[in-house]
Amino acid sequence: MADSYRQVMDRVRLSGEDRARILAAAREEAARPVRRVVFPRRVRRYAVLAACFAVMAAAAVAAPRLLAGQTMEADLSAAAAMEALPSRSALEQAVGFAVPEVEALPFSAEETDYVSVFGEVAEVTFRDESHTAVLRKGVDPDPSGNYSAYPDVRQLTVGNTAVTCKGADGTVALAVWEDGGYGFSLSFDPAVPEEEALSAVAAILNGASGT
């Protein structure tokens, strides 16, 4: 069976012509200058300060890793800027804010992954054999990173909190809300009925550890 899979995948390959075309397109794309946006002078002044602060923060994060000789790990994580962590508390330590527990998912999670994205967004993935739910929390009002256009976008309310639900045919694939100065997103694959999504959101909002 593994041999059969290898036989199938062996058919997927690039010809010399494909490589030449892809390389030429990649070189052209990489050489394309980044479009510059001109900001007013006052904004530029603050931008310079922010850039200095960002460089200092990046150096503070990168220096201990480089000193510890973790160059390969650092390069690999730079590729995605995602760091897998063993527990919720380790994730909270990495991102610097509390990460809520999710106790009312529409399915019973058998596995949970904790990932810090750029050290700025906490991502918790819950999974069973056929369902996945991803909770994200960050300072951005919408930390989902999901820019898909969904046919149904509904503004709903859970308690006093406005929740944007996106999906199709009464189901919710993505819910986004703000609470306590943070943005939250909860995505479902496959999408779940609206009431199930909202009860998961309500449970997160009611959890004191979440904010």
Partner: protein, 192 residues
């Protein structure tokens, strides 16, 4: 006048010294860009097929998979990362390609044609088509692990690094993926 001339000469000398510093640096910069470009070509030759296959295992479409290969090279050229040795180079490329392919899956920008399936059907290779359909039907989390383990031959610890997951999660995905394949294929084949 003399002082003015010496002042001009002083300015001219300073400009010359500045240009002398800047010009070699500019040509060094051109050399570095050429190196990065040459590295992209070498890595495409060495690992282009591996990157294409991983992308295809996510997207099931040749055109989408080729775009992921191209975008991976763009990332390589733009970020010019320091990569230590062939293993690190390949792992970096696969990680970037995997993330780009998953982004594409999330954005619903994928095409529907599955050329591999069509090719196997045209050749009446139902045995291979059966296996491809079974792997294709797995959840993404299982499929990526199955591909890296069985096709690329990576151990679970390395797969965990490439995918940014815990090793225990990778082992669990591998076990579940195998079990699901056995069920789909009704134990006609052993994926062990």
């Amino acid at each position: 006048m003399e002082s003015v001339l010496s002042g001009r000469w002083g300015l001219g000398t300073a400009l010359y010294a500045l240009l002398a510093r800047v010009l070699p640096a500019a040509s060094d910069g051109a050399m570095e860009r050429e190196d990065a470009s040459a590295r992209a070509e070498r890595l495409l030759t060495q690992y282009g097929d591996a990157v294409l296959r991983l992308a295809y295992s996510y997207l099931h479409n040749r055109e989408d998979a080729e775009e992921v290969v191209q975008d991976t090279l763009v990332q390589l050229l733009k970020t010019d990362p320091e990569l230590q040795g062939p293993d690190h180079e390949k792992a970096w490329l696969l990680r970037v390609a995997g993330n780009l392919a998953k982004n594409r899956l999330r954005s619903d920008r994928i095409r529907m044609a599955d050329e591999l399936n069509e090719e196997l059907a045209a050749e009446e290779r139902e045995d291979l088509r059966f296996v491809w359909e079974a792997v294709r039907s797995l959840p993404t989390a299982y499929r990526e692990v199955i591909h890296l383990f069985y096709y690329e031959g990576y151990p679970t610890a390395q797969i965990a690094k490439i995918l940014g997951k815990n090793e225990s999660t990778v082992r669990s995905c591998l076990t579940r993926g195998r079990a699901q394949l056995r069920t789909i294929l009704k134990e006609a084949y052993d994926f062990g």
